[in-house]
């Protein structure tokens, strides 16, 4: 009916990606590699969340660290202090971050262009500062320790391998939901807002409401990613949640491909792994990391996904030259 080619292609990339991720633990040997894999999948969930507001709706969100931090701390505190079960705490985390996304989004997203970027930078910094200094509640610089791993039907995900497969299941579920949202009338409306807000309003769309909805989706995904991170490390501390942390997710989305769910996942994996591979460079790793991002933006603004799409089209054209010749002879009578 409409753009079915693009839809199946992105579904195929996602399927291949998750199949590779499913067999990855048997290919890597060290527990350190498994740790990096877990981190990649958690980051992937956060980047899929960021994609709603930045990739699809075009609003630059530089406070993802705030969302992730509040999500992580909501889970950490409600499991360790209130003694709640992981899943109940996850619900609290989602509700908390959603509330913050509405409180921040409703006044800010009425404005157009770059106001969200400025507001969210402030929000992220304030969040870090509160987590750091409200010691009686958050544990201050010492953070929160002994965060439990989840259990399901009597099985406790204590080993990193078990936790990795739990992460993968959640990531598959959330990718599927994100893809459905992107293909729904809301996804279409998000893209229209990104393209031209005034034209949207002229055809009756409430662009503020749509931007707030996309921001809320981002909040829910961030809450889940933040919670999964806290439970994975079983420890959270405030110094992680910096502006640089927010920027790293923006880079992942840009490198993977803005507006694409498989792109978000790919970008998260590639940059998370790259960051770990470059550790031997010590402080110089940031230079290589930054150069990679700059090169991607210059030579492939569509990101890894844009590159893959071009590749598939080129192969498709080479594989069916006789077909296209025939089509030309028949005048391409469409």
């Amino acid at each position: 009916m409409k753009d079915r080619g693009g839809a199946t292609r992105s579904l195929m990339v996602l399927t291949v990606l998750f199949c590779l991720l499913a067999i990855a633990p048997s290919l890597v040997k060290s527990s350190y590699s498994l740790f990096v894999l877990c981190l990649s999948v958690i980051n992937g969930i956060a980047v899929i969340g960021l994609n709603f507001i930045f990739g699809l709706t075009g609003q630059l969100h530089l406070g993802l660290s705030g969302f992730l931090g509040i999500g992580a701390y909501a889970l950490a505190l409600s499991t360790t202090r209130a003694g709640l079960d992981f899943w109940a705490a996850l619900v609290i985390s989602i509700v908390t971050v959603s509330t913050f996304s509405l409180l921040l989004g409703i006044p800010t997203l009425r404005l157009k262009r770059y106001y969200l970027a400025i507001m969210t930078i402030g929000f992220g910094e304030i969040t870090r500062s509160v987590l750091m200094n409200w010691s009686s509640f958050t544990g201050g610089v010492f953070g929160v320790q002994n965060i439990p791993r989840p259990s399901l039907l009597g099985f406790r995900f204590t080993s990193n391998l078990a936790y990795y497969y739990l992460l993968l299941c959640i990531a598959i579920l959330l990718s599927a939901v994100a893809t459905r949202i992107e293909r729904s009338k809301y996804g279409r409306a998000f893209k229209a807002v990104r393209d031209d807000e005034l034209a949207c309003e002229m055809v009756g769309m409430d662009s503020t409401e749509l931007k707030v909805l996309a921001f809320l989706c981002c909040g829910v995904y961030s809450a889940i990613a933040g919670s999964l991170y806290a439970s994975f490390q079983q420890y959270v501390s405030p110094e992680l949640y910096t502006l640089a942390y927010s920027f790293s997710f923006v880079s992942m989305l840009v490198v993977g491909g803005l507006g694409s769910v498989p792109g978000a996942m790919l970008g998260a994996i590639v940059l998370t792994v790259l960051m770990e591979l470059l550790r031997f460079l010590k402080q110089w790793y940031l230079v290589v990391y930054a150069a990679t991002i700059i090169l991607v933006i210059i030579y492939e603004p569509g990101g890894i996904i844009g590159f893959l799409n071009k590749l598939v089209e080129r192969i498709g054209r080479r594989r069916a030259p006789s077909l296209s010749k025939e089509a030309m002879q028949h005048g391409g009578g469409v």
Binding site: K2, R188, A189, K191, V203
Partner: protein
């Protein structure tokens, strides 16, 4: 028929420069009203003020007896007023069909989850929107173009897509800002037919246009602006011979020669 739109004493100034000066215009239901005037006479400003792009400095705008002054653009659109843009504003990442679907978004009723998980009602609504979109595309003459990117269309058809997108909102009043700009003479003839068909569907049209041939052929009445003021109003034949209009367009010498 009675007025569908009443512009009452509307002024608009930009940092002291009066773009519209105490303007009174009444548009009747079901007519094609052309608004003409030399460059800078306030035609596009008038469209922007009616559709809420920016508020009037003073005066009232009444649509179907209801005061819509100061409402935000999307609320005005939801009341049944929509427009096209002089410098096209299409959605670069949407296909032709998606443009016309997006314009139906505000009228759709199925909620977020119903749409995301394609419940039976969600699917039925989407199918209804698609078939309505196909019908509108056929109506404006873009049949068979549905799956192209909107910006992949040749220039003249992009103008038609803007009209299709506007029609998809289900307007009662359609404002067209220079829809014939950049079109060939055949395309203008097709546009002329399209405008008549839009009128025959009961949609009132306000047409801001420079191509006088088109204006004289389709307009029921013409309002002439100059320096933000109304200098004449009437049927095409009356306007054609109005000395004040000739003077505004061609200068005093021509007006004297004509009379």
């Amino acid at each position: 028929m009675g007025p569908i739109l009443e512009i009452k004493g509307v002024s608009k100034s930009f940092e002291g420069v009066l773009a519209l000066n105490n303007l009174d215009v009444e548009v009747s239901e079901g007519e094609i009203r052309a608004i003409i005037g030399p460059n800078g006479s306030g035609k596009t400003t008038l469209i922007n003020v009616i559709t809420g792009v920016f508020p009037a400095t003073s005066g009232r705008i009444i649509f179907k007896g209801q005061d819509i002054t100061g409402l935000s653009p999307f609320r005005i659109a939801r009341k049944g007023i929509t427009r096209t843009f002089q410098n096209l504003r299409l959605f670069p990442s949407l296909t032709v069909l998606e443009h016309v679907l997006a314009a139906q978004h505000h009228r759709s009723r199925v909620g977020f989850w119903g749409s995301v998980f394609s419940t039976r009602s969600g699917r039925a609504e989407e199918e209804g929107m698609v078939s309505r979109a196909q019908e509108i595309l056929e109506f404006v003459g873009l049949k068979g173009r549905a799956d192209m990117p909107g910006l992949g269309l040749p220039y003249g058809q992009r103008r038609l897509l803007e009209i299709a997108r506007a029609l998809a909102t289900g307007p009662e009043l359609l404002l067209l800002d220079e829809p014939a700009a950049g079109l060939s003479s055949e395309e203008i003839q097709a546009l002329e037919r399209l405008l008549r068909e839009i009128r025959s569907r009961g949609i009132t049209v306000i047409l801001v246009e420079h191509r006088m041939m088109l204006v004289m052929n389709v307009a029921d009445r013409i309002t002439v602006l100059n320096y933000g003021e109304k200098i004449a109003e009437g049927k095409p034949a009356e306007i054609k011979n109005n000395p004040e209009v000739i003077q505004a367009y061609l200068g005093r010498a021509y007006a004297a020669a004509g009379s």
